[in-house]
C-alpha cells in the first residue's frame, strides 16, 4: 500500500518537469486510445453479429429439415411424419412446412427477382416472427382459397415493395419457371395481390423475400417441382436458438429412417460464411488493436526507464531504509500499473461515450444495401469489456516488469557511490 501511495505521489507531483508531465500524459493517452479503439471495435463487430443474428432469427426457423419430394402432394404427409418424429425427440418443438423457390416479381413500374416462400400461414407464425414484422397491411390468412381466377395473396419485404413500387392492394405478376407451362422455356405467370409488407431490418430479407400461402404452390410452380424449384423444407423452432446445432444433431439422428429427409441443418450453418467472416474480422481487428495497446505500453517502459535513471538516489535511499529489491520492483510496477490503469480507465470512459453515441443516439447511419443494417450497431457485454480491460492492464504490467526488474537489480552501494 505504501509503494502504491508513493507511486501515485511520484506520478502526480505538481513540480515534475514539463517534459516528464508530457511523457506521462502521452503514455496515458496512447493506452486510452488503444483501449477505447478495442472496446468500440469489439462492440460494433459484436453488435453486427448479434443484430444480424437476431434479424435472421426473426424470419428463420432454428433447424431446417430438407425434404426430397417429386410431387407437391407428398409435402403434407411427409411434413406430418417428420413433425411427429421431431415432436417425439423434443415435445416443445414447433414445426412448419414450407417450399421456397426463386421468382420474378413484376409490377407496372419495375421488376425484381426474389425468393418466394410458400408457407403454412398459421404454422409459420409459431416458427418465425414474421407476423410481428408486418408494417403495412396484414399477414396471410390461412384459409384463403386460391382458385385459379383469383389473385394470390402475397406479403413482400419493404425494400422489395419499394423496388417494385407497389403498396397494399396493388397487383403484381409472379413469374416462375414451371414444368407444366406449354414450352419449358416459357415461364409461368400468376397474378399476386399485395396483402402485407414486412420489415425485418435485415436488408437481404427485406429486399429479396416474399411470402405466399402454401395452397398457391401449384399455381406458381406447376404440379411438380422442376430443377429443385421449389425446394421443400420443414422448419423447426426450439426453445433456444443457440442450442440449434445440438438439436439439429438430435433431429438428424431421429430422422435417420425417414426416406424423404435429405438433410438436417441448424440456421447457423445456412449463414456459416457470414458468421465466419464476422468472427475472423473480429479476431483480426482485436489483434491489431491489441498491438496498439502493446505499443502504447512501450511508452510506459520508456517512462519507467526515465524514472529509474532520474531516481537512482531515491532508490538507493529507499534501499538503505530497508526496502528490499522486491519492494523496489513493486514500486516501479506500481508506477507502471497506475499509468496503465489511468490509460485504461480513460479509454473505458471514451468507449462509454462512443457507445452512447452509437447505441442511444443512432447518429451513425449505414448504407443498408452495403451493410445489411441501417444503423451502426453496438453490443458489448460487461464480461467482454472487463476481459479487455484486464488483459490491457496485464499487458501494461508486463511492459513495466522489464524496467522494474532492471531497477531492482541495482546495487545500493553503486547507486550511492555513483548516483
Amino acid at each position: 500500500m505504501n509503494t502504491l501511495w508513493l507511486a501515485w505521489k511520484i506520478i502526480f507531483y505538481k513540480n515534475n518537469p514539463t517534459l516528464q508531465k508530457f511523457s506521462i500524459a502521452a503514455s496515458i493517452a496512447s493506452i486510452a486510445v488503444g483501449v477505447a479503439g478495442l472496446l468500440v471495435t469489439l462492440g460494433v463487430v459484436n453488435g453486427f453479429h448479434s443484430e444480424i443474428k437476431s434479424r435472421i432469427l426473426g424470419l428463420s426457423p432454428h433447424v431446417f429439415v430438407r425434404l426430397s419430394l417429386h410431387k407437391h402432394e407428398n409435402l403434407a404427409p411427409a411434413a406430418d411424419s417428420v413433425t411427429r418424429t421431431l415432436a417425439a425427440a423434443d415435445p416443445q418443438v414447433k414445426t412448419a412446412a414450407f417450399a421456397v423457390g426463386s421468382v420474378m416479381l413484376r409490377s407496372s413500374y419495375a421488376s425484381s427477382g426474389l425468393m418466394l416462400k410458400a408457407v403454412d400461414a398459421q404454422a409459420e407464425t409459431g416458427v418465425t416472427g414474421i407476423k410481428g414484422l408486418i408494417i403495412k397491411g396484414e399477414w396471410l390468412t390461412p384459409t384463403q382459397p386460391h382458385k385459379a381466377d383469383t389473385a394470390i395473396d402475397i406479403v413482400l419485404g419493404k425494400e422489395a415493395a419499394r423496388a417494385t413500387g407497389v403498396s397494399i392492394g396493388d397487383k403484381v405478376a409472379i413469374i416462375a419457371s414451371a414444368n407444366d407451362s406449354i414450352a419449358m422455356a416459357m415461364p409461368k405467370i400468376e397474378t399476386g395481390l399485395v396483402r402485407g409488407i414486412f420489415e425485418s431490418g435485415y436488408y437481404e430479407y427485406d429486399s429479396g423475400l416474399a411470402y405466399v400461402d402454401l395452397s398457391a404452390i401449384k399455381r406458381i410452380w406447376g404440379s411438380d417441382p422442376t430443377d429443385g424449384q421449389p425446394s421443400f423444407w420443414i422448419g423447426a423452432h426450439c426453445a433456444n436458438a443457440e442450442d440449434a446445432p445440438a438439436w439439429a444433431t438430435t433431429f438428424s439422428a431421429a430422422l435417420d429412417n425417414e426416406p424423404l429427409v435429405s438433410s438436417v441443418m441448424p440456421w447457423s450453418d445456412l449463414n456459416k460464411s457470414l458468421f465466419s467472416a464476422l468472427k475472423l474480422e473480429k479476431i483480426m481487428l482485436a489483434l491489431v488493436l491489441f498491438l496498439i495497446i502493446f505499443i502504447a505500453s512501450i511508452s510506459i517502459i520508456s517512462n519507467l526507464l526515465m524514472l529509474s535513471a532520474q531516481k537512482t538516489q531515491m532508490i538507493g535511499s529507499l534501499r538503505s531504509l530497508g526496502l528490499s529489491r522486491a519492494d523496489v520492483r513493486r514500486l516501479m510496477l506500481s508506477v507502471g500499473g497506475l499509468l496503465g490503469a489511468m490509460g485504461i480507465c480513460t479509454g473505458a470512459a471514451l468507449a462509454a461515450i462512443c457507445a452512447y453515441v452509437i447505441k442511444d443516439t443512432g447518429l451513425i447511419a449505414l448504407p443498408a444495401e452495403l451493410y445489411m443494417l441501417e444503423r451502426l450497431p453496438f453490443d458489448l457485454t460487461l464480461a467482454t469489456a472487463a476481459g479487455v480491460l484486464a488483459a490491457a492492464w496485464l499487458v501494461t504490467l508486463a511492459a513495466s516488469a522489464l524496467p522494474a526488474n532492471q531497477t531492482s537489480k541495482l546495487e545500493i552501494s553503486q547507486i550511492l557511490r555513483y548516483g
Partner: protein
C-alpha cells in the same frame, strides 16, 4: 601518535561492561579501476561500536570512509572479513534478512539530501516511520515523536514544505530527523554537518547526542566527517587513511 588497530576498541575489550552492537573484523574491500587494476579501498579494518557510544571517522576524500559506511550499513559486502550485528554474523546472511536488519536497526544520513522530492517533509518522515515500523499507517505516537524531533532541530515550520523549498541547513536537519526515524540502534552519518555553518553544526551534533542518550535503545553513532570540531564531540575518533583505520587520541573535549 596514531597507531593501527588490530581491534579498534582495545579499551572496550579490557572493560567488559560495554556491549558491542556492531563489530567489523579484518575488513578488506577493493574495486576494479577502469584500466583493470585493483584498488584496495579498505585493508584489514577492525572496528567496534558499543551501545551508547559516538564514534567519528575522519579522513581525506577517497580514503574509503563511505565504502566502510556502506559495508557497516549492510549495503555492500566486504571482500573478506567478518561483520557481526547484535551478535549475528552478517557475512553469509541472505539479502532479505540483511534488508530486514537494516530496516529495523540501522539509520543512515547521507551526504546528499535523501528526502523524496515528491513528498513534503512531514510525508517523508511519516513514510520512513512506516517503513521502519513495518506498518501501513503512522501511529499518533510516532507522529508526536517526529514533531518533537522536528521542534528540537527547529524544522517545525518546514514540515509542509517540499524538499526543493528547503535551505541546505533545513534539508540537513530534516535528513537527521529522517535518519532517527524508527529509533535505530546504529546510526551511520556521512558528513552530517557538511551543509551547516559551525554554530549550527555544533548545535545539530549536540542534539543528535542528546537524542541518542535520551533514547531507550542506547544507540551507537558512527559519523564520518571532515570537521574536526564535530569529530571532537565523539567518544572515540579514528582516521582512515589509504584503507587503514587508525585511532587518534586524545580528541575528547571539543
Amino acid at each position: 601518535m596514531d597507531r593501527p588497530l588490530l581491534r579498534a576498541s582495545p579499551e572496550a575489550q579490557h572493560d567488559a561492561a560495554p556491549v558491542a552492537l556492531l563489530r567489523a573484523s579484518g575488513i578488506y574491500k577493493s574495486y576494479t579501476a577502469p584500466d583493470g587494476d585493483a584498488i584496495d579501498v579498505l585493508r584489514g579494518v577492525d572496528l567496534e561500536l558499543t551501545a551508547g557510544s559516538i564514534v567519528a571517522i575522519i579522513g581525506p576524500s577517497g580514503s574509503g570512509k563511505s565504502t566502510l559506511l556502506h559495508i557497516l550499513g549492510l549495503m555492500a559486502g566486504p571482500d573478506s572479513g567478518e561483520i557481526t550485528l547484535d551478535g549475528e554474523t552478517i557475512n553469509d546472511m541472505p539479502e532479505a534478512r540483511r534488508d530486514d536488519l537494516r530496516r529495523r536497526k540501522i539509520g543512515f544520513l547521507f551526504q546528499f539530501n535523501s528526502l523524496i522530492d515528491e513528498l513534503t517533509v512531514e510525508e517523508n518522515l511519516c513514510f520512513v516511520e512506516r517503513i521502519k515500523s513495518g506498518t501501513k499507517s503512522t501511529s499518533v505516537q510516532a507522529r508526536e515523536r517526529l514533531h518533537a524531533r522536528a521542534r528540537s532541530l527547529d524544522i517545525t515550520g518546514c514540515l509542509n514544505l517540499y524538499p526543493r523549498q528547503l535551505s541546505s541547513g533545513q534539508a540537513t536537519r530534516a535528513n537527521i530527523v529522517k535518519c532517527l526515524c524508527g529509533d535505530p540502534r546504529i546510526i551511520l552519518m556521512d558528513e552530517p554537518t557538511g551543509n551547516l555553518d559551525a554554530k549550527n553544526a555544533k548545535q545539530v551534533i549536540m542534539e543528535v547526542k542528546r537524542i541518542v542518550e535520551a533514547g531507550s535503545q542506547r544507540s551507537s553513532v558512527l559519523l564520518v566527517t571532515h570537521n574536526l570540531e564535530i569529530a571532537a564531540q565523539a567518544d572515540r575518533v579514528y582516521a582512515l587513511d589509504q584503507g587503514i583505520l587508525l585511532e587518534k587520541r586524545p580528541m575528547k573535549g571539543g
